[in-house]
Amino acid sequence: MNVHHSLTKIFTLSSFALFVCLLVPQLRAQDEVHAMGGTNADRVRIAAASFKAMNSDAQTTALKATFDSTFYNDLSVAGIFDMVSRSMTPQESPGNPTEIKVATWSAAPASAAMVAFGNIGVTGGKLTVNGWLFDTRNDANPQVVNKTYNEAASQDAVRKVAHQFADEIIYRLGGGINGVAETKIYFVGSRTGAKEIWAMDYDGQNAHQITNLGTVSLSPRISPDNNELAFASLSKQGWAIRIFSFELNRYLSFPTGTNGSSNLTPAWSADNKSLAFSSSRSGDPEIWVSDSNGGKAERLTNIKGPDVAPTWNPRSNSQLAWVSGRTGLPQIYVMDADGTNVQRMTDGGYAISPSWSPNGLFLTFSWNRKYGPGAPGGQDIYVMDIATKKWIQLTHGSGSNDFPSWAPDGRHIVFERSLDGKADIWSMLADGTDQRQLTHDGHSFMPNWSWK
């Protein structure tokens, strides 16, 4: 077909880390593997033991089941482990270091280099979890992690504890990059009939409605400090950018977000101080930037045609990528935060919804390279190396894919996939592997992964 296609095949067969290695020689080798995952051969083989229940009551049993499944899933999707499957996991439940027989875990078929184990109990409504991580190849000093967690006993609390313990392990074994098990995904859900903003845990659990505006709300963007949620909402006056404060539990005044008939697609700068957005106040949707309280609104673009969906370079905070229809079909562009040095990134097709990688080096976006009347093509998720404009395709022939949003670990991407007319949120590793469906109820759109 073409060079890109064969490149894509090669990259699918080998690892994304290799791609990064070839294209981004300035990256240190360690970053490559840890930033993008790798083949199973590169990964630490880890086993998660079923935790030992310290009580036999129904509540403890139920919480233990949730803990085990949540924790196993967290390690499985982390992108850095070669997980020992459940069928190869030894059936014993060592509750503490004196009970574990390390050789059972290091021997085939588990062949684990690391094993996580511990105990869980409920006393007087209080949940206590003790967890350990052992290095099976270090006989003298096997303990890598030991943590104790105390919470009021509940399903939510035990999921939180499982995420915290998993993140502790991921941080230790993942090159010091924080895990994402405690992060949230904000999205648009239509299960109430109106398009409202929802939030859920990163694994799709605990979905709950944030807004109750009864209209169409789009493009949720959580602030880097997790305190405020910006989004665009439709009224009879047009589209306004609204900001909800979780701290104050109310909407904040953001008057610049109602100036003009279409104010869309807010984007927080990494320092939490600025918002970029699209506004039609000049009679044409252009990219604007203002203080996070709405002051000092400035226009960055000034060419006729839709300009929308800005995203900041979270590493430098000094560049923005966005979508412009200035030449016809929408394309991805990059500019400096003052509007200068505009550079077109995509060479055609229909390219939308950019999200900038945490390390500042890559863009992920949705692209239909054959888009046009009579050419149905696929709307798929791509990753582009900004310096070289080389790209790889992450999704292939499965539905229509849009709104990729990079996770703070750089290893994961969440996106919207529409299959047979039903839209859901999916996540995958940043090399396109390990695709998992996170939502099932109603339609879910436009995911945004929290910054921490």
Binding site: K195, V216, L218, S219, A232, L234, K236, Q237, G238, W239, S261, S262, L264, T265, S278, S280, G283, D284, P285, K304, G305, P306, D307, V308, A309, V323, G325, G328, L329, P330, Y350, I352, S353, S366, Y371, G372, P373, Q379, D402, F403, F445, M446
Partner: protein, 266 residues
């Protein structure tokens, strides 16, 4: 909604007969403010009144070879030409029999400038030629219209090409008709709403719908409507008229509507 419209193509065809009646003096502010000196000394005194022109076709939709009556009127014009017919008096009727869809474009020139009007005769290929016994397709007999009906009859939706916010040439007459109606009803305010088909991103389509509505607003403003009378809202692909995955439905959704603005706020 469009699904309803699909079943009523005949009526849609009649809607295609869109007449244009806007003096270019209104379209081009320069002409209006600084009219050219009259070059025709035949007129008593210098009449700088801008010409007006109307043209219509009855019926507007025919089988190949059917007869159509073209009727036109002008004011303040002394040189009138209709494409395909030639020089004509200031007003009158002519019978034509086009074999394919034809736009009859009238240009009226006077000392006060020029005016243009156009009407489209849609020829349906494969339709049976009307016999004298079959009444031609005509619009319903005139009844007194309510103000809302009158508005709807004069101000129609504007349709767009794929991924485009440019006003199509063939929709200019409808837009001009809407503009002239609004010029003659200066107390009416309108809201222009932009819509897009389902393909592509929700976010990009809201911006595209905004540009579609802005294009219509710009055309109305250029035709002399005060910008303060026109509000714009984009619905992107959030409130489609139909949801079939067909080009016909997509076309129904690529539109801008012009509605009376009953919004009291702002």
């Amino acid at each position: 909604m469009s699904c309803m419209m699909r079943g009523r193509r005949q009526i849609l065809g009649a809607v295609l007969v869109a007449s244009l009646a806007v003096a270019t003096g209104l379209i081009s502010g320069c002409d209006k403010e600084a009219p050219k000196p009259a070059q025709n000394s035949m007129a008593p005194g210098v009449d700088t009144t801008a010409p007006t022109a109307t043209i219509s076709a009855t019926p507007g939709q025919i089988a190949p070879g059917d007869l159509v009556t073209i009727e036109w009127t002008t004011t303040a014009a002394d040189r009138i030409n209709i494409s395909g017919i030639g020089s004509v008096p200031v007003s009158g009727t002519r019978t034509v029999s086009p074999m394919q869809t034809t736009t009859y474009r009238l240009v009226a020139k006077g000392s006060g400038g020029r005016a243009e009007a156009a009407t489209v005769v849609t020829v349906i290929k494969g339709a049976t030629k009307s016999t004298g016994n079959t009444p031609p397709v005509v619009e319903a007999p005139p009844k007194p219209l309510t103000p809302e009906q009158e508005f709807t009859a004069n101000v129609q939706d504007i349709f767009f090409d794929y991924d485009s916010y440019d006003v199509r040439t063939e929709t200019q007459p409808a837009l001009s008709k809407a503009a002239s109606y609004l010029v003659s009803h200066p107390n009416l305010n309108v809201v222009v709403s932009g819509y897009c088909d389902e393909r592509g991103s929700n976010e990009y389509n809201v911006a595209l719908g905004e540009d579609r509505a802005d294009s219509v607003k710009d055309a109305l403003v250029n035709a002399g409507i005060a910008a303060s009378r026109i509000r714009v809202v984009s619905y992107g692909k959030e409130q489609p008229f139909c949801s079939d995955q067909t080009e016909e439905c997509w076309q129904q959704n690529r539109r801008a509507t012009i509605k009376l603005d009953n919004n009291e706020q702002q």
